[in-house]
Symmetry: D2
Subunit: 340 residues, 4 copies
């Protein structure tokens, strides 16, 4: 439908869909207004809609994922937050420590990143860990520090929601709620973030196929939240010299299948700090919409993932290179390193 | 410690552990009473305990998993419920449809299984599915039918807890709460079932290593629930002719590492109904403590997983073979098929 | 075609096939004579053959593998050698050390195996090794010892052909030529053993799909050698607690797709000696036609694979169990352990 | 040792090594002369060599691969051929069709590539294929066409050696002999190319670990041929939306471990023509020394791998981008597209 379609025409279409026991989803776009339809769509008769005045085109989506597919919405999704854009021509850089470890640590790192021009600060307050005996994050205390740092530096916060219980608390501080790899198929959690307004960063599970990642995103969109960023962070293979196998093949595949932005986490992906730089470059070179990088001021003392964290100094070197690379792949990046 | 150690001696030991900021776990055993210790155990001085009268032996567990390891407790865990035993010499057979589809379907199948002597009925009310548009189970209605069938046939119910929200409802009907493969590292859910009294059936994640499975079980035990059954149900590999790759290697490996019982789900494991029989036989032959088998009276009409379900008739043929096989691997099995 | 079809009728059919630029393959069977056809079969007109008097049935094989498929030949292939049968109801046990290490070692082990009733002795003279600096086998000297031991004990020899160069020498001593996992897609080697009369034992490659294994067998059959035994020996997955992941799922899958016998090598498959027994039992329980087991008199001193080798004493215990298991899966086994 | 070490001093060191039953390997370098030592090196006494006048330093290599490791030779290996360099600052581009299909096809494509400035032409005369019924290459005829095209266009030829039998013929036409993924552990073939003077392009096997790839290269170097280029071409994982999973993680890992140049084959790696461009960019961005790209003038009519081949027109677009990318990762590239 056209963007200027009057509200009552839109509602007429949506009602017609509902009458046939299907569910209409308004899909925001820059040039067109889409109405995604899910449910028993095989019972719908296309002509009934095609003949309505306000309807420009009726497209049947053949993929198992519907709302996330380019068939449903061809143009790239661009998420806007605080005058920043995620997706489209823009490259987005998220950086910060794996975990909030203390108020001091968080403020120190945030200060250094702020100076480098970083707008998105990542840090986990709730950490899912394989062992019950490993450091599980500062929890409520960590959230408190994140609220403080957000006020102090005016940065946007990216932090992980480990479960539905902590979600309300997380959603108050997080501009972007991260769903971790182990929770990619925690469908109850997906449904709940689908009902929030926060942006969601959905990480690929370590044995999830690309199709399964898109299906999990579909869970979120089908609940009404279209602000989803996908994240490739490495899959599990037989190789043991890397922590995971960062699967950059997923980037061009997903860019073709879906309109959602996708970023890459090379820190978890390869898991060795001095290999993060080349993998980050490769990610941007093959079309990723941004990066999530672990940065720590004292990697050797980090309570988690120190081995894969960059120092602010090495991170700055990477940023400078990304700035050089961006125009070659027809991307823009807010001025970073030159700020510092 | 000896089994007849007086309560106040036990408490004395536990207090001493707590004073040193560690956590004591009483581990039930047939011949000895163990006190598992977790926390900063590197600060404990072994002699302090060795010299206590009531303490027979102090063992330092070298594995990352503690309470589940044979180092902590050497003898097999045998779980008792309604005069039945799970683990040890006993083989346990869990059978039923993938999902509760209707009152009628559930009663029909339960009736046929009861006649075959089956004591444990499996059926899912909440179904985690890759697609938000697939059948997600009858939910509360399904639980209601499970309560009914339980009363009618006096069978023990095995059903899946998909999230913490539905857990209280599930825990009322389930004798055994199943944690599905996708939730193996849903640590919040693990911690909550760890605080319940119900038996927990923990399925291996599809890309989980054996060590990760044991670590997830450790989450449950460390919360106080020692009634955990592990379940091998197939891992994800490159092979495409089977749904998953049932990894029977895990059975002898786990039997050596852990005292917990482990059963096998060949239905999900290989995913093709006419290959379930040979894989079930193989599972028992290599030392599994039981089986979980999908049985449906009309596999072709099943709302989920029909392709991997046995008919009661074919299931009976399998049971007869398992009865023949049991004594060869030094196992007992309650009289099944001969009952029917 | 019927078994008693006169030679000139057979030749008439074969000529007709050749005239149409296709290749005829006579497939030996117990109840029927099959003529497999490969080449541009889409150009063949089925009726042309159906109307020939001697032709009973024309079947178009839909699988990418032709000669190895059950569509081409429904009944199990049974390979006969020295009054022994491989395949069908018969279980075959191949045992011996990984490598020929010395005349003494080979004779000692062969002697012990002979006493246990073993007819097939395995031992490698040429060993493919990941490192050029590892022990590569005794080569020609090893072949010499194998010839000696064969004469002395009248056992059938199973030994690996590493390349086409050593194949003539190997084929003189080997009753069964083993093609190792790394050579499963060494097509030149497959074609050459396809032109020999020796039985071929084709091991599955460690990342080979079941379909690829069958395609590799097809290379051998298409050259005229129908005496092929398949062997499952473990695939490569993410799991690190086992050397490989023995994929027993392959057994029922292959038994359905192909008429060729398939045996299992649990020694390489799981790679830990005290887990070989349960995996061997599982292999027979799910339908394997036999086993290949590494047995060494001094596993701790073995030049290769000692960690996965059974002592003759432990091997005897396994044999006794296999003898008990065989009738339950409707198999026979030559009297073994009871001989010793 | 110093580069200007006199020949008799070198021989003295080598003799001393041989006397102790080890094998000396002269390793060419730009700034130093190395003598690699393999064999029972644990028997060598370091001081015996350290005290020799001409010896600057004695280093014990801790990795299982020796000659290929940076411990043995720290500086990058740069292979020179016809005034071109492979490795170091230089990016090398190999392009051409999967198979030689006809004289015309080969000349047409070579002509177009020559115009784009390509110096290395790839095309297979012997094709290893999973099915015995697939096109196996033009074989001798293909070699003849390659000799012709080489003369006509003065390009360097890259073509695959499938087995030891065809190796002498291949080695006459090939400037670079390709060892395919399936032959990465065909050790007899590795040893034979190790005795030739031709450059060897060794592709990673589809389930080979990085360590195994380096060990296979070690086979070639240990026979005296140091002109080895490694090639990442995708590994086998559970993902099915791509032909293989191109593992770019291997590039920075290998660059750290080994002095050998490594290039990337994104055509096989991802296996879909319109995703080759982004993966090729990523490969250069993360440090690869070059690319091998399938280019075909009529991809839809190709006898093999058409689906992953670029047209010359699309290949030119990629070349232009690679030229822009090269200086950002501190690389040079011979003028390509601008020539055209």
């Amino acid at each position: 439908m056209k963007l200027d379609t009057p509200r009552d025409s839109i509602e007429k279409v949506k009602n017609k869909i509902s009458e046939r026991n299907c569910i209409p989803h308004e899909i925001p776009g820059a040039s067109k207004l889409g109405i995604g339809i899910t449910g028993p769509t095989n019972l719908l008769i296309e002509e009934e809609f095609q003949t309505m005045d306000c309807v420009e085109e009726v497209i049947r989506v053949t993929k198992p994922y519907k709302l996330v597919s380019r068939e449903m919405k061809n143009e790239d999704t661009i998420i806007e937050i605080n005058n920043l854009k995620i997706g489209g021509k823009q490259l987005s850089i998220i950086a910060g420590p794996c975990s909030v470890e203390s108020r001091q640590q968080l403020f120190d790192i945030a200060g250094e990143l702020k100076e480098l021009g970083i707008k998105f600060l990542r840090a986990g307050a709730y950490k899912p860990r394989s062992s019950p005996y490993s450091f599980q994050g500062l929890k409520e205390k960590g959230i408190e520090f994140l609220l403080d740092v957000k006020k102090e530096f005016n940065m946007m916060i990216v932090t992980e929601a480990k479960d539905t219980k902590s979600l309300p608390l997380i959603s108050e501080v997080a501009d972007i709620i991260q769903i971790g790899a182990r929770n990619m198929q925690n469908f109850s959690l997906l449904e709940e973030v689908g009902q929030l307004k926060n942006i969601v960063l959905l990480k690929r599970g370590l044995a999830a196929t690309i199709e399964e990642l898109l299906m999990s995103a579909e869970y979120i969109l089908s609940q009404g939240n279209f602000n989803v960023i996908l994240c490739e962070r490495g899959i599990r293979t037989f190789e043991t010299m890397t922590r995971n196998t960062l699967d950059l093949n997923a980037i061009p595949i997903i860019k073709k299948q879906s309109h959602l932005p996708i970023i890459v986490d090379p820190s978890h992906g390869i898991g060795i700090w001095d290999k993060v730089h080349p993998m980050a470059m490769a990610a941007i070179a093959c079309g990723a919409d941004g990066l999530m990088i672990e940065v720590h001021n004292h990697p050797d003392k980090a309570l988690s993932d120190g081995y894969q964290s960059l120092t602010p100094k090495n991170f700055k070197i990477l940023l400078e290179k990304i700035e050089q690379l961006a125009p070659i792949v027809d991307r823009k990046i807010a001025s970073y390193a030159s700020v510092g």
